[in-house]
Symmetry: C2
Subunit: 474 residues, 2 copies
């Protein structure tokens, strides 16, 4: 570690356990392993120097952004000697182009700062998720983050125009261009998006901006069944097209949990389930309110909806959004859950929810379901809560049984066992279980081709033995 301290600016290397602790512990406080030190580079050259030194010393490097991930992908894993490399000192804005609609920022910039920068320039950066005040651009790229507006704008991959990346040998890949089109050979930036830091460390990104939204209509509908929720989504999508920028599903259980646990949060009506819709557009003359009201009136008339409300003010809008945003905190306050992040083909959502309910009744009696998610993306958070009075920490091996059962159910429907949260440390077993031999061989081949000595983020994403150092290293 002396070499790191010598190569980097003063204060860039933290070694005391107290200084390291926050960097060693994941957001959910489920994983904590010691790092040799925490490195805080201030420039891309610093990152490159640190990686080179670690590679020479055969020390693993764990890149860390805002450390808000849910699968312990940005903290050390057990075993190997590792350093945490935090990008938080690299948060500069390198360029803002309101003609070409792009912004170039360093990896440590928070999502919220980029949203605000865009808004200040009359533009929109559409990625939006609960942790946006803390989550950093580098981590959001490395995890291909999703969130609330994927329906209209796509995940982070769709928003990246260019990247600057430090490779596992400490060289720098310069791909920081703002071009909308560039078919000049393999599109290398795709390698690093969603690769969770295993193939390179993102040090800066050039991101797409959009025209600022000039109007926004938010509505909550109560629906009798999940099937109705799906049909309401279809009606809204077919009427509004890309102006439908959010379509969330909230089960009746999830809503009741929020109402019970969060002071002041209360749905305007009781219903078996809910759909939260938002239409928005930069076009001021697109009659979005009329469109939303028409969709809801037709849904009420046809029995797809039981009740509905359209926010009449920004205050009412934020109240509706809060009902969705508070679900995770309400769940935590109520004892936590075995969490899942599955996706299925959208048409299968109603049958999937029914199958999950049947599964829990049959195999985990007394357990309670908390289902919500991104309806328009086919992405459901299927959280299974222990019986009243029982904490999730106390359920022992049932935890893994529940996870396998829920994930099996998604995979049997051609789905995904991790729609937006990624693999990190917590879904490696699932990845080993569900990926084919061809999948695993391709992933290993990529890892070996770019990082043959397994320097970057060891112990994440790939099952043990896949893509590890062929010489039997870490």
């Amino acid at each position: 570690m002396a070499r790191l301290a010598a190569a980097l600016p003063p204060g860039a290397v933290l070694t005391s356990p107290a200084d390291r602790a926050a960097f060693e512990t994941d957001w959910r406080r489920l994983h904590a392993h010691p790092a040799l030190c925490v490195v805080q580079p201030g420039s891309t050259a610093d990152v490159a120097a640190a990686v080179r030194i670690c590679a020479e010393a055969a020390v693993g490097v764990v890149p860390q952004g805002g450390n808000t991930g849910l699968v312990a992908g940005a903290v050390p894993a057990e075993g190997a000697p590792q350093v945490v490399l935090t990008l938080r000192r690299m948060a500069a804005v390198r360029a803002l182009d309101t003609v070409g609609d792009s912004v170039t920022v360093e990896a440590g910039a928070t999502l919220q700062s980029v949203q605000e920068l865009a808004a200040g320039a009359g533009r929109l950066f559409p990625l939006s998720l609960a942790a946006e005040g803390t989550a950093q651009i580098g981590g959001l790229v490395a995890t291909n983050a999703g969130g609330l507006q994927v329906l209209a704008y796509g995940s982070m991959r769709a928003l990246v125009l260019g990247l600057e990346v430090v490779l596992p040998d400490g060289s720098i890949w310069e791909g920081l261009r703002p071009l909308r089109k560039d078919n000049t050979g393999f599109d290398l930036k795709q390698l690093f998006i969603g690769a969770e830091g295993l193939l390179g460390i993102v040090t800066a990104a050039c991101l797409r901006l959009f025209p600022a939204v000039t109007q926004r209509v938010t509505a909550l509908a109560g629906v009798p069944t999940v099937e109705s929720a799906l049909r309401l989504f279809q009606a809204a999508r077919d009427r509004a097209g890309t102006a439908l920028t959010m379509c969330e599903f909230v089960s009746g259980e999830a809503m009741r949990l929020v109402a019970r646990r969060v002071p002041g949060a209360r749905p305007p009506f009781d219903a078996p389930a809910y759909v939260l819709l938002e239409l928005s557009s930069p076009a001021a003359d697109h009659p979005l309110r009329h469109a939303a009201e028409t969709v809801l009136e037709e849904a009420l008339a046809g029995g797809l909806a039981l009740d509905a409300v359209v926010a009449q003010s920004e205050r009412e809008r934020l109240q509706l959004l809060r009902l969705r945003e508070e679900i995770s905190d309400a769940e935590l306050a109520d004892g936590g859950a075995v969490k899942h992040d599955i996706a299925v083909p959208i048409a299968l959502i109603p049958e999937t929810v029914a199958a999950v309910e049947a599964l829990v009744r049959r195999r985990f009696p007394g357990y309670r379901l908390n289902v919500f998610g991104h309806l328009g993306d086919g992405n459901l958070h299927v959280n299974v809560r222990p019986p009243e009075g029982c904490s999730v920490a106390a359920i022992g091996p049932l935890y893994q049984d529940i996870t396998c059962a829920v994930e099996d159910l998604a995979m049997a429907r051609g789905g995904s066992f991790s729609a937006e949260h990624g693999i990190g440390q917590m879904r490696i077993a699932s990845l080993g279980r569900y990926k084919s031999a061809v999948d695993l061989a391709l992933m290993s081949a990529l890892k070996r081709a770019l990082d043959p000595h397994n320097i970057l983020n060891p112990g994440k994403l790939l099952p043990a033995g896949q893509g590890r150092d062929a010489r039997g290293g870490r």
Copy 2:
């Protein structure tokens, strides 16, 4: 070749020079090298068997779709023994899902057939380009095709949900899922999109569909300068957002060429340059015509536009589109050109066009410029036409001088030397000239990791010595 004939259905292997000829010659008729044979598999298993046999015999495999590419990427290159593998017998529709908005088709389906399939189901498949009647889905994926509606819907990469791919060793990668979100390890499908068949052969794709467009407003504006064209684009984008689905630039020279060469094609007014705009939306109540008229009125009032017309019927609309679509054919009829497909940051378009004009005046006197392209994507086709009476075939080494000069100019502005056409055989020299050592090393590492014996599409994309068989093979 006897092994191929034995392993595949009767009639699947074509060996006579007459049968092979069309498969050996590229669309622009600039490249033609013999293949050992042409293989026409009827199934993914056939493709896998053919690739396995070729890999064992150390024979290169050139995947071919509709053979409409402009860089000779789908025909044999000089040197190595190769077979052409055409996907044309694999054109089945495997699934159509109008709830999840996806369609799964085999690689040999034409783009037009997929557009029509979508339209028949009340949906939109938005990729649109001149060769759509012939171009096939597999080739469009392998080249990350662009075209006229990239502005709102993205290139092919943005439209692919899943792929089925035969790998260089003949194994099959099964990634044909319709999921909107799936963060389970490295996103392997990204490897094959835009890789021009060097890493795998796409045999089927699951593609995104969109709500059908219910209204469409098309307008042509005459503008005094390229700067005005850019500002008109900005005004339309900021007013219409994603409803601005096309924004093309046509220089005055390009328009005069069409008017002279194409019977019945004539712009409604003369102008120094033109912008062709289209607004479209699935939302019937979005007043697009009013939006377009307002943008144009403001442009006329502010001097950004000199004249403008909005199509009042589908017939008028097609007349306007034809002015843009006929440019390449008019150019060919007039003697051809040294073609380029550059991109620059959008804000630099006016200065880039001025620099190109100055370059031709200074270094290639008597040569004539034909500039047009996808303004909203920063993508310009900068075509340089020989002096009157001189054919492009006769200009000798000037061809390469012109190409270098135009590409240098784009690259000096942080641009691209191939925005949408790719590399194939014709831009390999450019790739070697402009890519960094790190770029080339990464591309080679990928090729070696997936195709160590250089079986797939040899002699394309990578400069000689990059990613070739380490044992000194082909």
